[in-house]
């Protein structure tokens, strides 16, 4: 009992750390990756020692983005505008960040692992209604930005808050509908069980990943996930060119960092959820408990502990690749107009999601029930 | 011998198709399509009717064709089976309706050529034909009543065809309402018959079955039913006292006057009485009433016709007068004579109206005979055909009207109605007078046409004159199917009809030749007088009118019957409605009660409303008190 509790706590901390590190990776990608895409140099200051250049390496701007920027952020003055609601102004960034962080708890980042006779589930909180939990926490995320915008006593901030709220609520529905189809396919609300049922192969070689069963749900979830994290092309709430920074405009220092981190963490969360639902989670193609069963009939034995660790690594790799993909999206697409955003959400994604649910239900009934 | 003959339904189907076509497609497809379909369906129906009629002729006497349709309604033991039946009587009527109808449809193509609502006109006309055929072909009283109402509706629609003119619309309503009174009588008659039959266990209104059970009627029932049905007939066939609508109906297009208000619909009453002959022979009193009303109507309408200046009004009163003859005929028990006159009248009166229409058409809408004259050279075909029709209606020997009118007068005399015979004979003279007055004023003498209409004056196009010629031929020779007894084939028409309507049994012996001589002489006298009055001494009518000013104006104003009805019925009705029912009962009593109740509620509400201040929370507090009480009650239950 105690040891499980301790391990659960460790897992939870681990998961939050993974999320935060992914956010840092995304922060770096934001600065340096965008420069690469846009053919700029990007962050190139704070090259303290110059060792890299001496060794003939390009300036990666690591210190600039990962040390100097955060230090600057957290040492700035924490400014609260006149007439603002102090309490809520301070509360809002954490209301935004908190639900995202607790969501990491239900994501399975590996299979069960057996150490010293104890078997642990590599999932911080093995909820059997995890999918609902997910929707609940994501829904809670609205309050942070909404109240942040409202509490700033600033028109742009309020507009940004309203936009953010409307956008998140709208796309939550699309996301929920995509999730419903996924839940119907796997027949469970438990994310670990979902990942498990993505093990094995079809036709002897094709991994049974969710994306092959629910391609439309994948696209819907991806789109809605990007919209939820309020990134380009869905960054209307921040809309730098029209609302300056939207709901964040009156924030500075650590609180603004919290808002920014929320966005990055949401992006990381989206990536993790996509991996969990559609890309096999920690599953590696053809890898079973006892080792690889390649399609040709070859077999490669691997120790169970190594299999579990390989799973965790595979999960992380998939998530990083998806994060990078989301970053690419952010720097490749132009921004929507607000009415286009709403039209896409309500007239595009929601009907598609409903149709997807309908078709899924029909197929499930036609083929004689879920798994 | 009864033979099933499914093609009978085609006689109904084609006009119905015409209605649908003209209603929905006519306005879109235009005149030429309506021109083909409107009259076309009638000619097809005429062909089918001819086929049916020839079939009957080929079969033994007393045969009938029938075509059962479906069970229409059922109420307890009573049920109505729809069916069509063509025997000798309805065969003749179908031939008249489809034949004369077809030619009048054809004529309408020319007459209505310049009207905007062309398709609507033919829709109504086809609908009329459809309804009339239902009336004629029906094998039971209920279905006949459907047709009866249908023709009434069409009559209304067509009288008020140019409904933008308020007077025309008024006349349409008048016709409809007056007919309603008659229809109420007809309906009551049906109820009386049904009640009598049902009392004896027969739950049917089928003509054949009714005839088979005619012995169930006692004299009282037969008289009541006969008189009630005759009330319907006075409405539809414009007899005293319900004739007032027919002259006003002349505001409709002239083909309508010809078809509905002369040739077919108005004779429905005669047909109905002939059809119900088995009932009427049981009720001598009812028969006497029919004959008397007929004779009086014939005379009164004839006298009014003498002074009317409007060409169509003359013909309208003439129609009423001729209808009176028909009722005199059937009322005398000589049903075949009545129907015979229906047929010849359809020919010559239809023709007269069509000719009048042709004249009006040529005159560009002018109907006043004082503004005509000397038209015979301008419109030769119209003149000659109209002359033939006039000779026919004036009962000049050799023309159709002579044979039929002679039979009627003979029937009246021989059934013992001497005074009615005398009235009819005098009316024959009057008929000759006013008809030739019409001819002389219109076609002879000096032209009184207004100068601006002279250049417009023209003979009508062939599509109008062909029907005239066809009907003129029929008017001339149509009477030869019923020659006097003993001459060649004798009275073939009456023999043909006798299985249906029975044979005429004279009560008084008389010499047909003598009777005929008297009536014909009176007719000739009338023509002679007209010649003197209107051709030899054109000033004489003026002088006479001035001298007999009172009488002249009384006639000109149609005995002021409309005014009388106004005084006796309409005004008291309005008085009762307005002063007693409206102001007395409605406004004072009912409104007073309602307003008083309202006032009571209002004043008590004024007090009670203080509790209702509109504040939701105050209501909620009261609600809370209720909740506390309910929870308290349950608490009491639990604690106990």
């Amino acid at each position: 009992m105690t040891i499980e509790l301790v391990v659960g706590a460790i897992e939870a901390i681990l998961m939050v750390l993974i999320g935060l590190h992914l956010s840092i990776f995304l922060l770096y990608f934001e600065r340096k990756g965008s420069a690469l895409i846009q053919d700029r140099v990007g962050a190139n200051r704070a090259n303290i020692t110059g060792i890299g250049q001496k060794l003939g390496m390009p300036n990666l701007g690591i210190i600039n983005t990962l040390v100097a920027d955060p230090v600057k952020l957290f040492t700035k003055e924490d400014f609260v505008p006149e007439g603002a609601d102090h309490f809520i102004h301070g509360l809002a960034p954490f209301l935004a960040l908190f639900p995202v962080l607790i969501t990491f708890a239900v994501i399975p980042f590996g299979d069960t692992i057996t150490i010293a006779g104890h078997t642990f589930n590599l999932q911080a909180a093995g909820l059997n209604a995890a999918a609902l939990y997910l929707l609940a926490t994501i829904g809670m995320g609205v309050y942070g930005v909404a109240l942040g915008g409202w509490a700033s006593n600033n028109r742009w901030a309020l507009l940004g808050g309203i936009r953010a709220t409307a956008q998140m609520i709208s796309y939550e529905i699309a996301m929920g509908l995509a999730l419903v189809a996924v839940i119907m396919t796997y027949g469970t609300l438990d994310l670990q069980a979902m990942v498990r049922s993505q093990g094995g192969v079809w036709f002897g070689f094709l991994p049974r990943w969710g994306i092959l069963v629910q391609p439309l749900a994948f696209i819907l979830f991806l789109t809605a996930g990007v919209a939820e994290s309020k990134r380009i092309p869905f960054d209307l709430p921040e809309g730098e060119s029209e609302l300056i920074l939207g709901y964040m405009v009156e924030y500075s220092g650590g609180k603004q960092a919290a808002f920014m981190f929320t966005d990055f963490a949401e992006q990381a969360l989206t990536a993790m959820l996509l991996v969990t639902f559609f890309l096999g989670g920690w599953q590696i193609p053809w890898l079973y408990r006892d080792g690889f069963h390649f399609p040709g009939g070859h077999f490669l034995a691997i120790a169970p502990l190594a299999v579990s660790i390989l799973g965790v690594i595979a999960f992380l790799i998939k998530v990083v690749i998806l994060c990078a993909f989301l970053g690419l999206v952010r720097w490749s697409l132009p921004r929507f107009r607000y009415d286009q955003l709403m039209r896409l959400g309500w007239k595009g994604l929601v009907p598609l999601g409903l149709a997807n649910v309908l078709v899924t239900a029909f197929i499930i009934v036609a083929t004689g029930g879920a798994h | 011998m009864n033979v099933e003959f499914a093609a009978l339904s085609l006689i109904l189907v084609f006009p119905a198709l015409g209605v649908l076509f003209n209603l929905f497609l006519g306005p879109r497809l235009g005149r030429s399509a309506v021109n083909v379909v409107g009259p076309g369906v009638m000619f097809v129906a005429f062909a089918v009717a001819t086929w049916a009629f020839l079939s009957i002729l080929a079969m033994p006497a007393g045969s009938a064709l029938y075509c059962p349709l479906w069970r229409w309604l059922e109420a307890g033991k009573f049920h109505v089976e729809l069916g069509l039946r063509v025997d000798a009587l309805s065969g003749v009527m179908v031939m008249i309706v489809t034949g004369v109808g077809a030619f009048i449809h054809l004529y309408s193509v020319g007459y209505m050529a310049h009207d905007e609502d062309y398709a609507r006109f033919f829709t109504y006309l086809n609908l009329f034909a459809f309804s009339m055929l239902i009336l004629v072909l029906a094998d039971n009283l209920v279905m006949m009543f459907v047709g009866w109402e249908g023709v009434g509706l069409c009559s209304y629609l067509l009288i008020a065809f140019w409904y933008t003119n308020p007077e025309f619309a008024y006349n349409g309503r008048k016709a409809f309402i007056v007919n309603r009174i008659g229809d109420a009588g007809f309906l009551l008659g049906i109820f009386t018959i049904l009640a009598t039959l049902a009392h004896h266990g027969v739950w049917s209104l089928n003509f054949v079955e009714m005839q088979a059970h005619a012995d169930m009627f006692d004299v009282t029932a037969a008289t009541a039913a006969g008189l009630l049905l005759f009330l319907g007939a006075t409405g539809k066939s414009a007899q005293i006292p319900l004739y007032v609508w027919l002259p006003d109906a002349m505001v409709g297009p002239t083909p309508v006057s010809a078809l509905i208000h002369a040739a077919t619909m108005v004779t429905a009453g005669v047909y109905m009485i002939a059809r119900m002959n088995f009932l009427y022979v049981l009720a001598p009193d009812a028969m006497a009433v029919v004959a008397t009303i007929g004779g009086l109507t014939a005379f009164f309408a004839g006298t009014i016709a003498i002074v009317q200046p409007d060409i169509k009004k003359v013909l309208a009163y003439s129609t009423i007068s001729q209808l009176g003859y028909m009722f005199l005929g059937v009322g005398s028990g000589f049903f075949a004579a009545g129907i015979f006159h229906v047929m010849t009248h359809a020919f010559f009166k239809g023709l007269l109206f069509l000719c009048a229409g042709s004249v009006i058409h040529g005159m560009g809408g002018e109907q006043d005979m004082n503004k005509m004259g000397a038209l015979r050279h301008k419109m030769p075909i119209t003149f000659w055909t109209m002359l033939i029709a006039t000779l026919a209606i004036s009962a000049v020997p050799g023309f159709s009207g002579y044979f039929s009118k002679d039979l009627i007068l003979e029937g009246a005399y021989e059934s013992g109605h001497f005074w009615l015979w005398l009235l009819g004979a005098i009316t024959a003279g009057i008929t000759g007078f006013y008809m030739f007055r019409l001819i002389f004023m219109t076609f002879f003498g000096e032209s009184r046409v207004e100068p601006d209409k002279m250049h417009h004056l023209h003979e009508s196009p062939p599509v109008m004159t062909i029907p005239l010629i066809v009907l003129a031929v029929l008017s001339a020779i149509g009477g030869y199917v019923g020659l006097p007894e003993g001459l060649l084939w004798g009275d073939a028409f009456a023999k043909f009809l006798s299985p249906v309507v029975g044979n005429f049994k004279p009560a008084v012996e008389a010499s047909p030749a003598m009777l005929s001589l008297v009536a014909t002489s009176l007719g000739m006298l009338g023509i002679l007088l007209a010649y003197i009055f209107y051709l030899r001494m054109p000033g004489l009518p003026m002088i006479l009118a001035w001298r007999l000013k009172g009488l002249y104006e009384l006639l000109l104003e149609k005995y002021r019957i409309d005014e009388l009805y106004n005084l006796l019925i309409t005004r008291p009705l309005f008085f009762i409605s307005d002063y007693i029912l409206n102001r007395g009962i409605d406004q004072t009593l009912i409104d007073g009660t309602a307003n008083g109740a309202g006032l009571a509620v209002e004043s008590s509400g004024e007090v009670a409303r203080r509790a209702e201040d509109g504040n939701v929370q105050h209501y909620a507090f009261v609600y809370l008190l209720g909740v506390i009480a309910i929870v308290g009650y349950y608490l009491y239950l639990v604690v106990k």
Binding site: - | D613, G614, Q617
Partner: protein, 100 residues
Amino acid sequence: MVQLSWLMELSAAIFAIGVAGFLSRRNILVMFMSIELMLNAVNLAFVSLGSRMGTMDGQVIVFFVMTVAAAEAAVGLAIIISIFRNRETVNADDLTLLKW
């Protein structure tokens, strides 16, 4: 072990707070929120009793209550908006016409 009566009395307390809020607050929005409080108090009672009896019916009722609450919120808030548009106030004391 959590006693059923604790849950029920908690439910009663929240309900009473809701009633008090509805009766005392003048802002119709807050009155509306008080109604939601009452609904939730009742929901809590349903779930608690259902859980104690081991049946799902209580939860199903709660499900329906939520649906009705959603419908009620949509319509009710729409009414509040249109009232505010016409009257420029959401003070229940000023809205005594019971119509607009």
